[in-house]
Each structure stands twice: as structure tokens, then as C-alpha cells.
């Protein structure tokens, strides 16, 4: 009979020193590096080391664990370390940073407020996306500020997409003004009309 009843499983306890973990963070194979990153997520002092590894780690699976480690550690220092990767030339690092910042929730608010005023348009776009994970009370004032004073159409568009999910009635007037401000931008007008529908069941022209 080719079917063999498996032996009983018992959990193993693997004990490692912090030093051996740090060594494996750069020296080991993919799985060793991943486990080292996850193990270090228990140690708040490891945040800088995890971020430093992200500068040179190419494997997306290990990057995933490094970002997860940073979001598990939490706190404003970790948020700042993660937020730095929004500027990266590597789309994978930017994406990983956004997801980690979402997981950091309110720990990331201060650094993100700064980034939403960053001179770089692309950084502002990515920063806006993070507000999707915030409770309405936190997200709404930031989104309103974008609608009222953000000059770049793509940053506004990013905020409008967030608002289709997160938005409430009190943003409708600001959306209406945004629609007038960018009346010639086909995509943005379309997006605002969708957002208003989602918020209240009719479009901005009636608000």
C-alpha cells in the first residue's frame, strides 16, 4: 500500500543567538535571510539593521520579510526608516514601503504628513495612498487639504481614488471645487464623479 501513515508531528524549538541571526541576514540563503529578518522583528533595536539590509537586498521574498519586520517593530522610528523607501528608484521597494506604512497605521502619521508636502510629485502620490488604511477621522482632513491646494493632477487623482473607498459627505464640497479647478482634465473629472457617486449616490454637479 503506497499510502504511509505519517509519524506524529512535534514542534521543534530552534534557539539562535541574535548575532547568528544578523550574520544570516546577509550571509545565508534566501530562507535563512527571511528567517533572520523575521526573528529580528522581535527586537526594536534591530530596525536600523533591517532598513540597512533593504538598501542592498534584491530578493523580493527577503524584502518582504524585512518590511514585515519593520512594521512589526512599529513606532515612529521604524515609520521613518520605511518612509525613506518611497523615494527609491526601485518600484518593488516603493510598493513594499507603502504596504508597510499602511500596517504601521498611526505610527506613520507624522512622517506621512511631511511626505504629503514633499517637493517630489511621485512621493506625494505614494504618501496619499497610505491614507487608505487610516480611520476616516485621520484620512479626511489630509485628503481635503489635497483637494484644496495640491497643484498636480496625479496627486489629486490618487486622493480621489482613496476617497471612493474612504470618503464621507463632508468632502463633497471640496470635491466639487476640485472638479472646477481641473475642469479640462478628462480623467480627473471622471474620477471625481465616481467618487461622489460612491460617497453619496449622485455626482459632484448636484452637491
Amino acid at each position: 500500500m503506497p499510502l504511509i501513515r505519517p509519524a506524529a508531528v512535534t514542534p521543534d524549538a530552534i534557539v539562535e543567538t541574535l548575532e547568528s541571526r544578523r550574520d544570516k541576514l546577509v550571509g545565508g540563503d534566501v530562507d535563512e535571510r527571511r528567517h533572520a529578518a523575521r526573528a529580528m522583528s522581535k527586537d526594536p533595536a534591530a530596525a536600523a539593521a533591517l532598513a540597512a539590509c533593504l538598501q542592498s537586498e534584491a530578493d523580493p521574498r527577503v524584502r518582504d520579510s524585512l518590511f514585515a519586520g519593520l512594521s512589526d517593530i512599529g513606532g515612529t522610528q521604524a515609520a521613518e526608516l520605511v518612509a525613506a523607501f518611497l523615494r527609491s528608484d526601485d518600484a518593488g521597494l516603493r510598493g513594499g514601503a507603502i504596504e508597510a506604512l499602511k500596517r504601521l497605521e498611526t505610527d506613520a502619521v507624522v512622517v506621512l504628513d511631511g511626505l504629503m508636502n514633499d517637493p517630489d510629485t511621485d512621493v506625494r502620490i505614494l504618501a496619499v495612498e497610505v491614507t487608505r488604511a487610516w480611520p476616516r477621522e485621520l484620512a479626511t482632513p489630509r485628503l481635503r487639504r489635497v483637494f484644496e491646494s495640491e497643484p498636480h493632477v496625479n496627486v489629486c487623482a490618487a486622493a480621489v481614488d482613496v476617497v471612493t473607498e474612504v470618503g464621507s459627505d463632508d468632502l463633497l464640497p471640496a470635491l466639487n471645487r476640485l472638479r472646477q479647478r481641473f475642469a479640462s482634465e478628462q480623467f480627473l473629472v471622471f474620477a471625481i464623479d465616481i467618487a461622489c457617486e460612491r460617497i453619496h449616490g449622485d455626482d459632484a454637479r448636484d452637491a
Partner: protein, 140 residues
């Protein structure tokens, strides 16, 4: 406007509609492209990141995919690399979109396997024109 179309799509001229996959994590973008493309007579499917994009691309014989750069889980470049590596999907024409505007990104898109590149926001006739060109269709 300089359209670099490296390899036109090989679509069946007998087929009335072409099938297009839109890969973008923004809901309003997918809805906008859907409205434009369905208006041109195309069938549209959506994905919100590169992994879902690949899952759909290996199951349906799309004539074109439109893919954004910045997406969670798997970004547009990684998606394109995987698309080109996978035998089932390697020849699907790809239009890459991004909110970024630097020349290096244009090169990077083409190197990753995109056939053309558009900077957002995309106007309606611009999308229709690029899609038709990539599908080897006349717009008249």
C-alpha cells in the same frame, strides 16, 4: 508624441472584439479605461496588482495588457518580466502607464518588455489611439 511600437499585436482580423487586461491598483483608473475601451468595442478584464494580472493572463488569451508601474504585491516591471518569461503569455503586447515622467522610466519600461509607454493622466482619445495602434487596428 512619439509612439514606439516594437511589435504589433497579432490579433485575429475575423474577431469582432479584442480582449484587454487592465492592471492598475486604482479603482477609478480601471473604471475609466473600461469605459473608454468598452466604448471602442473591446472586452475588458481587470487586475489590481501584478500577481492577479499574471493569474488572469495565463488563463485568458488577451490581445493586450495595460499595466501601471506602482502596484502592491507585484509592481508593473516585475509583472512584465514574468509575463515575458511565461511561455503562455510571452507575446502579449503591453502598454505601460505611469505617473512618472522621466526619460529613464521610458527606457526601463521598454527594457522590461513594454511595447509602448504612456504618462498619466491619459486622455480618452490618446488611450484609444495607442490601443488601436498596438492591436494593429485602423481607427477609421
Amino acid at each position: 508624441m512619439n509612439i514606439q511600437v516594437i511589435s504589433p499585436a497579432l490579433s485575429d482580423p475575423e474577431r469582432a472584439v479584442a480582449q484587454i487586461l487592465v492592471v492598475d491598483d486604482a479603482t477609478v483608473v480601471r473604471l475609466y479605461y473600461r469605459q473608454i475601451l468598452e466604448g471602442e468595442g473591446y472586452a475588458v478584464e481587470e487586475a489590481i496588482n501584478g500577481i492577479e494580472g499574471l493569474e488572469k493572463a495565463v488563463q485568458t488569451p488577451f490581445d493586450l495588457c495595460i499595466v501601471d508601474v506602482n502596484m502592491p504585491m507585484m509592481d508593473g516591471y516585475t509583472f512584465l518580466h514574468a509575463l515575458r518569461r511565461e511561455p503562455i503569455t510571452h507575446a502579449i503586447p503591453a502598454l505601460m502607464t505611469t505617473s512618472e515622467a522621466c526619460a529613464e522610466d521610458h527606457h526601463a519600461a521598454l527594457k522590461a518588455g513594454a511595447n509602448a509607454y504612456l504618462v498619466k493622466p491619459v486622455a480618452r482619445d490618446q488611450l484609444a489611439l495607442y490601443v488601436a495602434a498596438l492591436l494593429g487596428r485602423s481607427l477609421s
